[in-house]
């Protein structure tokens, strides 16, 4: 499910089954040196989120990304999100990111190394994302079982 009007009517009725929020944490790089990497990272993470949504459509809601500029204070924003989710119908919240700085803040954040998709053809892209999804499945299943 996606965070949109059409899907939300469905997941509000089915909160018993659709109980997981998937929130991409996206770093926005604006300096000449960091822009390319950050853009590539955000492209990859968002593609991965779409692939995960496709796999777990009936249990996961893919949220719009939580974006921040580099160097921004993350802790406060993050605790706001966490707090807001605690009072929501979602039982599980999965933050997914390619930015390793998150590991220092909360190790429950799903960090994934970035695979640059820029120069890949569509078929290759799908294969790579598929493999990555398969690697992430056990980590999500583990969250669900706790």
């Amino acid at each position: 499910m996606f965070y949109n009007g059409k899907d939300s009517t469905q997941f509000l009725q089915q909160t018993e089954f659709i109980d997981t929020a998937l929130v991409p944490l996206i770093s926005i790089g604006l300096k000449k040196e960091t822009l390319h990497n950050a853009a590539s990272q955000s492209d990859y993470v968002l593609s991965l989120v779409n692939a995960l949504e496709n796999q777990f459509k009936g249990r996961v809601v893919a949220f719009p990304s939580f974006c921040y500029v580099e160097g921004q204070e993350k802790e406060d924003l993050y605790s706001n999100w966490k707090l807001a989710f605690e009072n929501s119908p979602f039982k599980h919240v999965l933050f997914i990111t390619g930015d390793s700085e998150w590991l220092a803040i909360d190790d429950s954040v799903l960090w994934t190394p970035t695979i640059p998709l820029d120069s890949m053809d569509a078929k290759m892209k799908i294969k790579i994302l598929d493999d990555q999804v398969r690697q992430i499945i056990p980590r999500i299943a583990e969250k669900w079982s706790t």
């Binding site: 089954f17 459509k57 569509a122």
Partner: protein, 168 residues
């Protein structure tokens, strides 16, 4: 010479008929064209998508087949990848849709080690038998849908529209 003379009255009535005829045709032609348009509409290409799997290679074990087709969404056209689980059942080829009938997740064949001969949905532990029949007691309420199948001229598998399961 004087017998062929066209009178002013004749000349005017000829020109008026001519011009009027053109105008009437100009109005009627588009109307007729619109009226018969549904008949002339081109059927969008047979709707069968070619995969790269030779029919001869299909075994009784369900295998995953990915295939691409172009999806046109208003003015935006995109390449969409879909999946089917294909296996042979006697002489017929069965292609099941991987979309769980519960809430639309993607199911996999034998992905749960406790149920090696079932389609498994990781979201809410839905199970389906090999022919797509939902296992009672698990969340799904109906059997997996299936694709229409046919063989292309050079022996490759072609998948058609999704239809309700006819095996169960």
């Amino acid at each position: 010479m004087s017998n062929n003379k066209v009178t002013r009255r004749q000349f005017l009535s000829y020109t008026l008929t001519g011009v009027g005829g053109f105008m009437a045709a100009g109005m009627l032609m588009p109307m007729v064209r619109f009226a018969i348009d549904p008949v002339l509409q081109k059927k969008d290409g047979a709707d069968f998508v070619l995969t790269d799997l030779p029919v001869a290679d299909i075994t009784e074990e369900p295998t995953r087949v990915d295939f691409n087709f172009e999806q046109i969404d208003a003015w935006y056209s995109s390449e969409v990848t879909s999946t089917a689980w294909v296996y042979r059942d006697g002489d017929t080829i069965v292609a099941l849709s991987p979309i769980c009938k519960h809430l639309g997740c993607t199911v996999g064949w034998a992905t749960d080690s406790a149920h090696p001969n079932r389609f498994f949905c990781a979201c809410h532990a839905g199970l389906y038998e090999k022919n797509g029949k939902n296992v009672p007691g698990t969340p799904p309420r109906g059997p997996l849908d299936m694709y229409e199948v046919r063989e292309s001229a050079d022996g490759l598998l072609e998948l058609g529209p999704v239809v309700p399961n006819t095996l169960v």
